[in-house]
């Protein structure tokens, strides 16, 4: 007589899926389902004040409208520039800080802890803090500049077109550089000593050692940091929302603040969802790019698959 097969949930083959079921269900319900609904809504003329408009199918009109909209492209372009500048600066400063702290032997632990400081701040607090620092009337920056006699007027940090954009990038870089610094420092600690010694014996100068040994070794760590960062680039929304709210007159409007304004303030949900999709694709593209880089760097390092 054939042995009775156990019910499917007791079979080894299905255990991992059973274990993953709660995670999958949560993400289905809170992320995937809403995103499908959002996709549908982006093809309707849905406005919050008119609930029946949820069923009003308008095809690609929302997309046509946002792609023909100058404000959208300005915010989109500004977001791309904002991310490019911020991520590159964070990488450069993070690398610099990691190399600096790696050199210091006395008090290194304390420095490392202080360096993690900005990571503890919620974006909303970073935004508030810099709204305060850059305030033209009572901000510490203008106060300091005036006390030192470097400027006699109130510099409009958060109002001027260029200064306001500088200010939000500064806040963003302040908040996220430590992600790079910490991961790159971990990379430097994990670095084998032998190749460095060998290179020195062979007469390489410090720059050559850095360029051909240290940097390639650090690349996987750079891509981990980039991948982690690309997962939460949209946190910049919190900062900008507090500091300038996208204003004055849309001078610091990023894609994310524009979505919030269109969806909640102007109640044009359909159009906001169409923009939201553009922002989601942007985020996925960023993450995917760095993730493939990470995999490639790992292979190059001969790490486990």
């Amino acid at each position: 007589m054939a042995t009775k097969r156990p019910p499917f949930w007791q079979r080894e083959k299905y255990t991992p899926f059973l274990l993953l079921l709660p995670a999958i269900l949560t993400l289905l319900f809170v992320v995937l389902l809403p995103l499908l609904f959002s996709l549908y809504t982006s093809f309707t003329g849905y406005r919050l004040i008119r609930p029946e408009s949820l069923w009003q199918w308008v095809g690609l009109r929302n997309y046509q409208r946002i792609f023909a909209d100058g404000d959208f492209w300005t915010a989109f372009g500004r977001t791309i520039i904002f991310l490019t500048i911020a991520l590159n600066l964070e990488f450069l400063f993070g690398l610099g800080i990691a190399l600096l702290i790696n050199k210091i032997t006395w008090g290194q632990r304390t420095l490392r802890t202080i360096m993690m400081f900005p990571m503890m701040f919620s974006p909303i607090l970073v935004g508030y803090q810099f709204k305060f620092v850059f305030n033209d009337n009572i901000g510490i920056l203008n106060n300091a500049l005036q006390s030192l006699g470097l400027s006699d007027g109130a510099i409009p940090w958060l109002v001027d077109k260029y200064l306001a954009n500088f200010s939000i990038i500064f806040a963003e870089v302040w908040m996220s550089t430590s992600v790079f610094a910490i991961l790159l420092l971990a990379g430097l600690f994990a670095m084998p000593r032998d190749p460095l010694e060998a290179a020195k014996v062979d007469g390489c100068n410090p720059w050559q050692v850095f360029r051909h040994i240290t940097l390639p070794f650090l690349m996987p760590f750079v891509f981990i940091a980039m991948t982690i960062r690309s997962l939460d680039v949209a946190r910049a929304y919190d900062i900008v929302d507090v500091m300038t709210g996208g204003g004055p007159a849309g001078r610091t409007e990023l894609l994310w603040t524009l979505i919030a304004r269109t969806g909640y303030d102007n109640a044009r949900m359909g159009q906001a969802n169409a923009m939201a999709y553009v922002s989601i694709l942007l985020s996925i593209a960023f993450t995917y790019y760095f993730f493939t880089k990470l995999l490639a760097a790992r292979k190059y390092m001969g790490g486990a698959e």
């Binding site: 991992p16 995670a23 992320v31 490392r112 981990i224």
Partner: protein, 286 residues
């Protein structure tokens, strides 16, 4: 010979100067907020500026917590309670789900493993504000707007991918042979998990929990759109209440900022070592 020594000294001095500037940039903005939390609002507006508070006091804290003569109209204690309940509950649930999922990724080979893992991570890339739109529409239909439960569910989903990533890494560091030996000795897999793997990965799991707690504690983009009143508003959303007034109460706002940062500060110090280890291990050795 002498030249080299001099160069080394200049290098050392340059290192320290750079480090000093760095620390100033990192510390001063936060320090300024903390100092402001202890001074009267009049001092904030004073010209010329008052650098060190002349009469530091706890008045601002008393004010936002509703003690003393003058109070602010912002119900900070209620926001604090909401933040705590929402962050703790969502962390506990995310940890349970994350442990189960992390164990699956660390200990089993199965079909679609890489695809599933990538899917989990990609779910995390959706910008909060973009996700808030459909969730707002759905939640308002099923009555979860302005409810703690609504926010808890969202935060669980937000934390699950990262929790799985971290916990997966910590389980992997434990040799498979240990739990296999326990199973040979007569434990079931379930018992082996609780007696061998869980105790060994405990500190790692705790740090994943703290990370999840901080994510929920600090979240703003979703909370600001899914909450309305004292029933569910969290501290970061409440902070913005101050800006809705005609004149910004910088001192009160700074006191509230200090309240938000303190738990985060303590918790981060507790886990910094594990966090770095978890991130690099999960990433490099994947």
């Amino acid at each position: 010979m002498k030249n080299g020594k001099l160069r080394k000294q200049i290098g050392a001095i340059a290192t320290w100067v750079l480090t000093f500037i760095l620390m100033v940039i990192i510390c001063v903005p936060g320090l300024w907020v903390v100092l402001t939390a202890f001074r009267p609002n009049g001092e904030v507006l004073a010209k010329p500026p008052v650098w060190i508070p002349e009469n530091p006091s706890l008045n601002n804290f008393a004010k936002i917590f509703g003690f003393g003569a003058d109070q602010v109209a912002i119900p900070v204690p209620a926001y604090f309670a909401n933040s705590l309940i929402i962050a703790l509950t969502s962390t506990a649930i995310a940890l349970l789900i994350g442990m189960s999922g992390g164990y699956a990724f660390a200990r089993y080979r199965f079909r679609f493993k890489n695809g599933l893992f990538l899917g989990l991570m990609l779910s995390r890339t959706v910008p909060g504000i973009a996700l808030s739109l459909p969730i707002f529409m759905i939640w308002s239909r099923i009555g979860l707007i302005d409810a703690k439960l609504g926010l808890i569910i969202v935060y669980v989903a937000l934390n699950v991918p990262f929790t799985i990533w971290l916990i997966d890494g910590f389980f992997r560091q434990i040799p498979k042979e240990m739990s296999e030996a326990a199973q040979v000795d007569g434990c079931t897999r379930w018992q082996a998990f609780w007696k061998i793997e869980f105790p060994l990965a405990k500190s790692g799991i705790a740090s994943a929990g703290i990370f999840a707690f901080l994510t929920s504690w600090n979240e703003y983009a979703l909370a600001s759109n899914l909450t309305r009143s004292t029933d569910s508003k969290t501290l970061p959303v409440g902070l913005m209440d101050f800006t809705a007034q005609f004149t910004i109460d910088w001192a009160g706002m700074s006191a509230m900022a200090v309240i938000i940062i303190i738990p985060a500060l303590i918790l981060t110090f507790l886990v910094q070592k594990h966090l770095i280890a978890g991130l690099t291990f999960g990433g490099v050795k994947g």
